[in-house]
């Protein structure tokens, strides 16, 4: 399965793009998405351990299953306010 992941802030800067594509076997969990990001996009590896995954407008737990049409976003530690 091919999935698109939105990138922001330091992650966008590290990857040089506002999104990346990952390839997974079947429907991955959120933690498998993070693993795939690390393997397929090494530029993100420094920031990944502190990132959370969001599907649509919500943070998801590591065992959440991602499906084909989900809008994924990699959320580095936030600093608004």
């Amino acid at each position: 399965m091919q999935l698109n992941v939105l990138l922001f802030a330091g992650a966008k800067e590290a990857a040089g793009s506002d999104h990346v594509t990952i390839h997974t076997h079947g429907e991955p969990t959120a933690s498998e998405v993070l693993k795939a990001l690390e393997q397929q996009h090494p530029a993100l590896s420094d920031l990944l351990p502190s990132c959370r995954l969001a599907v649509g407008n919500n943070y998801v737990d590591s065992d959440h299953t991602v499906t084909a049409n989900d809008e994924l976003a990699l959320i580095p530690p936030v600093s608004g306010g």
């Binding site: 939105l6 922001f8 920031l47 407008n57 943070y59 580095p76 530690p77 306010g81």
Partner: protein
């Protein structure tokens, strides 16, 4: 306030917004009025010149915009419930925010002042942990960096 309808989220007693212009917070102050509210409180987070020893030229904010709006809405609803607020306003500005201008404005009203103070602190603490908005420090020495607090998770 003149503003793009689509960027507003007003649900009864809650008003959250993410905007690209200066926050005209004085036009927001009438929103919190309620005949049973004995207390109104406002917090403004403002770009300051110095962070530790470095001199800031400006701050720039980026958001996962739809998610950030949704998180602000959830945050306002949770605060309203938790602290029995009559009204909650949260507006965050994104893009460049020059020194002395507000990046975030939070306002609320409640029967008594204790809830107002508790709510403002809780909203700011939670916003800084949960809402997908990021700050980029642009220093006067020409360098710049995204701020990703590592201690938060």
């Amino acid at each position: 306030m003149e503003r793009d309808q689509e960027t507003k989220m007003a649900t009864g007693h809650i008003w959250v917004d993410i905007i690209d212009q200066p926050i005209e917070w004085q036009s927001l102050t009438q929103k919190v009025a309620n005949p049973d509210a004995g207390s109104h409180g406002w917090f403004l987070g403002v770009t300051r010149r110095t962070t530790d020893d470095r001199v800031t030229e400006s701050l720039s904010y980026e958001a996962h915009r739809p998610m950030a709006k949704s998180e602000l809405q959830k945050l306002a609803e949770a605060a309203s419930h938790r602290f029995s607020l009559f009204f909650v306003v949260i507006v965050h500005r994104i893009g460049d925010v020059p020194i002395g201008e507000a990046s975030v404005v939070v306002g609320c009203s409640s029967a008594h002042r204790a809830e107002t103070f508790q709510a403002l602190e809780w909203i700011m603490d939670t916003l800084k942990r949960e809402v997908p908005i990021w700050k980029r420090e642009q220093y006067q020495d020409g360098s710049s960096e995204w701020v990703h607090p590592q201690s938060e998770h």
